[in-house]
């Protein structure tokens, strides 16, 4: 009993940040992302005995989270078919140059089609390899690599398309 508790708490401490960020990029809403992470960890607690390999914990949790997210759509059709650009922006006051750039880039990332942004988040934040992502998303590796390529390509083009506004910051 106690060891299970300890395992669970270690899991939460180590992975809740990554999972929250993943959920955020999946849903684009802070509150929904938080709920999703809570649901995910609650399920993870119940099924904790089925987690044999601690190294696989992250992908295991992400699989649970994706399933939870899909369930959310089953439960009710989401009212927002198209999210407003304004709602996805980070409300944190933009102070530094770095923050401003992050803010701008976040908008661009959230404008990516989800099938592009999801593998990107998994690769950059999760540190998963192409094979890992392919098995998690149930795709083949070539598709994943193509999507990663397109995702970065689009972001790069978007960055290059804003030279005037960004010029002052880039110096």
């Amino acid at each position: 009993m106690m060891t299970k508790q300890v395992r669970y708490e270690a899991l939460v401490k180590a992975l809740h940040g990554d999972l929250y960020r993943y959920a955020y990029w999946l849903t684009h809403e802070k509150q929904v992302a938080e709920d999703l992470v809570q649901e995910t960890f609650l399920r993870a607690w119940r099924a904790l005995d089925s987690l044999k390999d601690e190294k696989a914990a992250k992908s295991w949790l992400i699989t649970i989270l994706r399933r939870e997210n899909a369930r959310r759509f089953e439960r009710k059709r989401f009212e927002m078919s198209e999210y407003e650009e304004a709602t996805i922006t980070d409300t944190k006051s933009v102070t530094t140059e770095q923050e401003l750039e992050n803010h701008w880039l976040r908008e661009k990332i959230s404008q990516l089609p989800p099938e592009y942004s999801e593998p990107l988040v998994l690769q950059v934040l999760g540190g998963f390899s192409g094979e890992d992502i392919a098995s998690m998303l149930d795709l083949n590796k070539n598709t994943v690599m193509t999507r990663l390529f397109r995702a970065r390509n689009q972001l790069k083009e978007a960055l290059e398309a804003e030279p005037v506004k960004r010029g002052t910051y880039n110096g």
């Binding site: 508790q5 669970y8 708490e9 939460v12 401490k13 809740h16 940040g17 929250y20 960020r21 955020y24 990029w25 802070k30 938080e34 992470v37 809570q38 960890f41 609650l42 607690w45 980070d90 944190k92 770095q98 750039e101 992050n102 880039l105 976040r106 990332i109 990107l120 988040v121 690769q123 950059v124 934040l125 192409g130 690599m145 193509t146 990663l148 390529f149 970065r152 390509n153 972001l155 790069k156 960055l159």
Partner: protein, 237 residues
């Protein structure tokens, strides 16, 4: 590795450490520059993706789990309580059943057992005698009446006949006392017309509300007793 292939590989994974891409970067400085560019882009993407995590999320997650497992615990306790209660109820019922259900299934068996139990406590030549009046007083409880005495009545009192209040009469017989039971009708014991064992035999007479059972040793004429009883007893309902 041509340029397009290289670009695709780098775009797909800027940290690509494949031998081909590493070699291509060494050969061609422009490719190396491109790779660095994308690497920088990736660093920026990484920072952008690093949205702030709510400070209290970690604690919330642990709290929620603690509460949830507490609930489960409570539910488990309730299950245990229910189990204990069930066992107690079953135990109670068993005890009830054992205590109040009869070990005998018919009148005859019980009557014989009863007679054996009292054997020896009343001798055939006892001097005590019960009068017809006091017998009929007792019979009133069964709405019955004897018009005349069946013989020398040695003993007459209520007793428990398999949990039922009944009248236990002992008459003087030829060699040993003859026992007569007046028992209210009951579903529990099946009526047995005639019964016997090595020493005794007996028979039952069925009336509207009661049964009268005669048990005697084998020197007695049961038929005579039965006839006498049938002729002398009368019921008010």
């Amino acid at each position: 590795m041509d340029d397009l292939q290289f670009r695709r590989a780098i775009y797909a994974d800027p940290n690509n450490q494949d031998a081909d891409t590493v070699a291509a970067q060494k050969e061609d400085p422009s490719k190396k520059q491109f790779a660095q560019e994308i690497s920088k882009l990736d660093e920026r993407i990484k920072q952008a993706l690093h949205v702030p995590v709510p400070d209290d999320l970690c604690n919330k997650l642990i709290l929620r789990q603690t509460l949830a497992s507490h609930q489960v615990h409570k539910r488990k306790n309730r299950v245990h309580l229910a189990l204990a209660a069930s066992v107690a109820i079953v135990g109670g019922l068993m005890l009830n059943f054992l205590q109040f259900s009869s070990a005998y299934s018919n009148l005859g068996d019980y009557a014989l057992a009863h007679v054996y139990h009292e054997q020896g406590s009343i001798t055939n030549n006892a001097s005590s005698q019960v009068t017809l009046t006091s017998l009929n007083k007792k019979m009133a409880a069964f709405d019955g009446n004897f018009s005349e005495s069946l013989g020398k009545l040695l003993f007459a009192d209520y007793c428990r006949f398999d949990g039922m209040k009944s009248l236990h009469l002992v008459y003087q017989g030829k060699t040993s006392p003859v026992t007569v039971f007046v028992v209210p009708k009951n579903e529990q014991l099946s009526f047995s017309n005639a019964f016997n064992d090595k020493q005794y035999f007996g028979s039952s007479i069925e009336f509207n509300h009661s049964n009268i059972i005669v048990v005697a040793d084998k020197n007695e004429s049961l038929g005579q007793w039965q006839q006498n009883i049938s002729e002398t007893v009368s019921w008010s309902i």
